[in-house]
C-alpha cells in the first residue's frame, strides 16, 4: 500500500534547497492542490528571481522564469492571453515580491488580476547569501544589517497582507505558516482556495507563507521552526486579511 507519494504535478528531480528550508513543503502543497483540482494540463507557473528561481524545473506544468519582481506582470500577460484556458500562479519570495517587485504586486492586486500568488516570506534574501529583506524584523541581524535592522536607518518591515487589504481590488489575502503540522494543513487549505478563486473567476488571490531559512538565519532547522512561532508570527499574525466573497455572503 502506498502511504506517501510524490504529487504528479511535482517533477521527479532533486530540489536544490538547503536542509530544513520550507520551500520544499510549499512546493509540495502547491503540487498537491494542482493534482486535486486536476488542472496540471492548463496551469502555467511563473518562477521568480531568488531561491526559488529554479522552480521552473520542479513543477510538471508549463513554466516561465520572470525577471526579478516582475512575475505578476508576466502572469498578467499569461492570463490575459487565454483567460479561460490558463490557470496562472506565481511563486515569489519577499525580496522579489515586496521589494523590487512592489509596484507589480500592488497594481496586479489593484486590478484584481485573476491570478494566484504564492508569497514566501522568510524575512531574508536567501539566494544571495542572507541580506536584509523588506520583511526582515526590527533588530534582525543579516549580512547587510550586521548590527540588527535599525528601523531609524532602514525603516520598518513591509506587511504585505495588511497593506494590500486596504485596496478594493484583491479578492483574497491570507497569511499562513508551515512550521508545524496544523499550520501546514491550514496553508494547504489557503493555497487551494487561492487556486479555486481563479477557477471561479473571482480574481487576485495571494497567500503569504511564513517560511524558514535556517542557513541564513544561522539556526538549526528545529530552532528555525521555533523562531517562526516566537518572532515571526507575533509580527506577522496569521489569518485571513481579505476574502471578498465570504464578506459579501455575510452581508
Amino acid at each position: 500500500m502506498v502511504v506517501f507519494k510524490k504529487p504528479e504535478a511535482l517533477a521527479d528531480v532533486p530540489l536544490h534547497y538547503c536542509p530544513g528550508c520550507t520551500h520544499g513543503i510549499v512546493h509540495r502543497l502547491v503540487a498537491e492542490v494542482i493534482d486535486e483540482l486536476g488542472i496540471e494540463g492548463k496551469t502555467i507557473g511563473v518562477a521568480p528571481v531568488g531561491c526559488s528561481v529554479m522552480a521552473y524545473n520542479y513543477f510538471n506544468c508549463d513554466m516561465v522564469e520572470a525577471s526579478h519582481g516582475r512575475a505578476p506582470a508576466v502572469a498578467t500577460g499569461l492570463k490575459r492571453a487565454n483567460p479561460e484556458g490558463h490557470v496562472v500562479f506565481t511563486y515569489q519570495g519577499d525580496g522579489d515580491l515586496a521589494s523590487i517587485g512592489m509596484a507589480e504586486t500592488v497594481h496586479s492586486a489593484a486590478r484584481n488580476e485573476n491570478i494566484t500568488i504564492i508569497f514566501i516570506n522568510n524575512a531574508i534574501y536567501g539566494m544571495t547569501g542572507g541580506q536584509m529583506a523588506p520583511t526582515s524584523l526590527p533588530g534582525q541581524v543579516t549580512q547587510t544589517s550586521p548590527y540588527g535592522r535599525d528601523v531609524k536607518a532602514c525603516g520598518y518591515p513591509v506587511k504585505i497582507c495588511e497593506m494590500l487589504s486596504e485596496l478594493e481590488g484583491p479578492e483574497y489575502l491570507e497569511r499562513v505558516a508551515v512550521n508545524n503540522v496544523a499550520n501546514v494543513r491550514k496553508a494547504k487549505k489557503a493555497i487551494k482556495k487561492a487556486f479555486e478563486n481563479q477557477l471561479n473567476n473571482k480574481g487576485f488571490s495571494l497567500v503569504e507563507v511564513i517560511s524558514t531559512c535556517p542557513t541564513n538565519w544561522g539556526m538549526t532547522p528545529q530552532k528555525a521552526l521555533e523562531w517562526v512561532d516566537e518572532k515571526m508570527i507575533p509580527y506577522y499574525p496569521l489569518g485571513v486579511y481579505k476574502d471578498r466573497s465570504a464578506e459579501s455572503e455575510e452581508k
Binding site: A11, E40, G41, K42, T43, I44, V46, V53, M54, Y56, N57, F59, N60, C61, D62, M63, V64, E65, A66, S67, R70, A73, V74, A75, T76, G77, L78, K79, R80, A81, N82, G85, H86, A103, E104, V106, H107
Partner: protein
C-alpha cells in the same frame, strides 16, 4: 492614390499591428508616441483584444513577455526614456528567445531630455539595449506607409527568428500624416511548439527561461543565437539606394534624416554635385555590403543623423575606413535642414571629399 487615407505615423503603426494579427498591447503614456496607446485603447476592446495601461514601462514589457510566452503576437511602444526602462525586459526576451514587437518613437535625450524628434537611441537599439550579447531586428521607417509596413514586417521577422523586432522611429514620423494604404493580410501563423499554453498532460512541460547556470551550456546558447543572427544578416537586410548610379558622394541616413537629405541631394545635383543616398531600412542587420561596394566608387561618405555621431560609426565599420566619413547632424530635438545638408555637401565636394 485617392483610396489612401491620411494617417498619423503612430496611428498607422497601431492599425497595421492589429491587421497583422496583434491582439495584445501593453504600454504607458509618453510623448511623442501616446497616439499608439490611445488608438489601441479604442480599438482593442471592439475586436476582442487586450489593451492594458500598465503601471510602468517595466511592467508593460513584462506583460509582453507573458503573452509572448504563449506564442501570441504582442507589442508595446514607448519613447526613449521609456525604452530605457524596458531595456531589462528586452534582454530577458532575447535570453528566452521570445518574439515581440517594440516601437520606439524617439525623442531627445539623455535623461528626461526633451520631447522633440531625435535619433539618439541608435546605439541602444542596434546594440540590443539591455545587458548581454544579443541583437534586436531594428527597422527604421521613413514614411507613414513604412511605419505600417515595418510594423507588419517586424511581427513576421520576430516570429520567424524568435526575437524582438524594434520599429525605431522618431517624433516626426510618429506625428506626421501622410497618405497610407493599409492592405494588410496577416501572414500564415508559424508553429510555436515551445510556447506555454498548458501541457494538457499530453507533452513534457515547456519552460520559458533565460537562466543557465552552467557556463558551457550558456556559451552554446549564445553561439547558437549568433548563428541565427548570421542568417538574418545574410537574408533580411533592407535598404534604399537613391541616385547612387553615378554618385561621387554618398549620404547615409535613415528615417527623417534621409528625407531631409533627399531634398538636399536634388538641390546639389542642380548645382552639378553628384551625390546619392544609401538609406538603411534595417539598422540591424546593417547594410554593410552595399556600403562597402559604394566605398570603391565614391570619394567620401556623409552620415546625416539626429545624434552626436552614432550612425557614422557603423558607416565607418561597413566601409572599412576606405573613404572619409563626414558627419552632418543636429541633436536635442533639432532637425537637420536641407540647407545645412547642402552646405556640408558643397564643403566636402570643394575639398574633393577629404576630411
Amino acid at each position: 492614390m485617392a483610396d489612401k487615407a491620411l494617417m498619423k505615423g503612430n496611428e498607422a503603426i497601431a492599425e497595421a499591428a492589429i491587421m497583422a494579427g496583434c491582439r495584445f498591447y501593453f504600454g504607458y503614456p509618453i510623448t511623442p508616441q501616446t497616439e499608439i496607446a490611445a488608438y489601441m485603447a479604442k480599438r482593442m476592446p471592439k475586436i476582442g483584444g487586450t489593451f492594458l495601461q500598465a503601471e510602468s514601462e517595466v511592467a508593460a514589457i513584462n506583460m509582453v513577455y507573458g503573452v509572448a510566452s504563449t506564442g501570441m503576437r504582442v507589442m508595446t511602444s514607448s519613447s526613449s526614456p521609456g525604452i530605457s526602462l524596458k531595456a531589462e525586459g528586452l534582454s530577458y526576451l532575447a535570453g528566452a528567445d521570445l518574439p515581440s514587437l517594440v516601437v520606439n518613437v524617439q525623442r531627445g535625450g539623455p535623461g528626461l531630455g526633451g520631447i522633440q524628434p531625435s535619433q539618439s537611441d541608435y546605439f541602444q537599439a542596434t546594440r540590443g539595449g539591455g545587458h548581454g550579447d544579443y541583437h534586436m531586428i531594428v527597422l527604421a521607417p521613413a514614411s507613414v506607409q513604412e511605419m505600417a509596413d515595418m510594423t507588419v514586417k517586424g511581427f513576421d521577422l520576430a516570429d520567424k527568428y524568435r526575437m524582438t523586432a524594434m520599429v525605431l522611429a522618431d517624433g516626426t514620423m510618429g506625428q506626421m500624416m501622410e497618405p497610407v494604404s493599409l492592405d494588410i493580410k496577416p501572414s500564415d501563423p508559424i508553429e510555436k511548439p515551445w510556447a506555454v499554453t498548458g501541457t494538457q498532460k499530453a507533452r513534457k512541460h515547456n519552460i520559458i527561461n533565460s537562466l543557465s547556470l552552467v557556463p558551457e551550456e550558456l556559451e552554446q546558447l549564445n553561439i547558437a543565437r549568433y548563428e541565427r543572427y548570421k542568417l538574418i544578416e545574410e537574408n533580411e537586410v533592407m535598404y534604399e539606394e537613391y541616385m547612387m548610379d553615378d554618385a561621387e558622394y554618398c549620404i547615409v541616413a535613415f528615417g527623417i534624416a534621409a528625407r531631409v537629405s533627399k531634398n538636399a541631394i536634388v538641390e546639389a545635383r542642380k548645382q552639378g554635385i553628384k551625390v546619392g543616398l544609401i538609406r538603411p531600412i534595417t539598422l540591424w542587420p546593417f547594410p554593410k555590403k552595399p556600403l562597402l561596394a559604394a566605398a570603391d566608387k565614391v570619394k567620401a561618405f556623409m552620415s546625416v543623423e539626429l545624434s552626436m555621431g552614432q550612425l557614422i560609426e557603423d558607416v565607418q565599420i561597413a566601409t572599412q575606413f576606405k573613404k572619409p566619413v563626414h558627419l552632418c547632424n543636429r541633436v536635442g530635438g533639432m532637425i537637420v535642414t536641407p540647407e545645412q545638408v547642402l552646405a556640408k555637401i558643397k564643403e566636402i565636394s570643394e575639398n574633393g571629399g577629404a576630411k
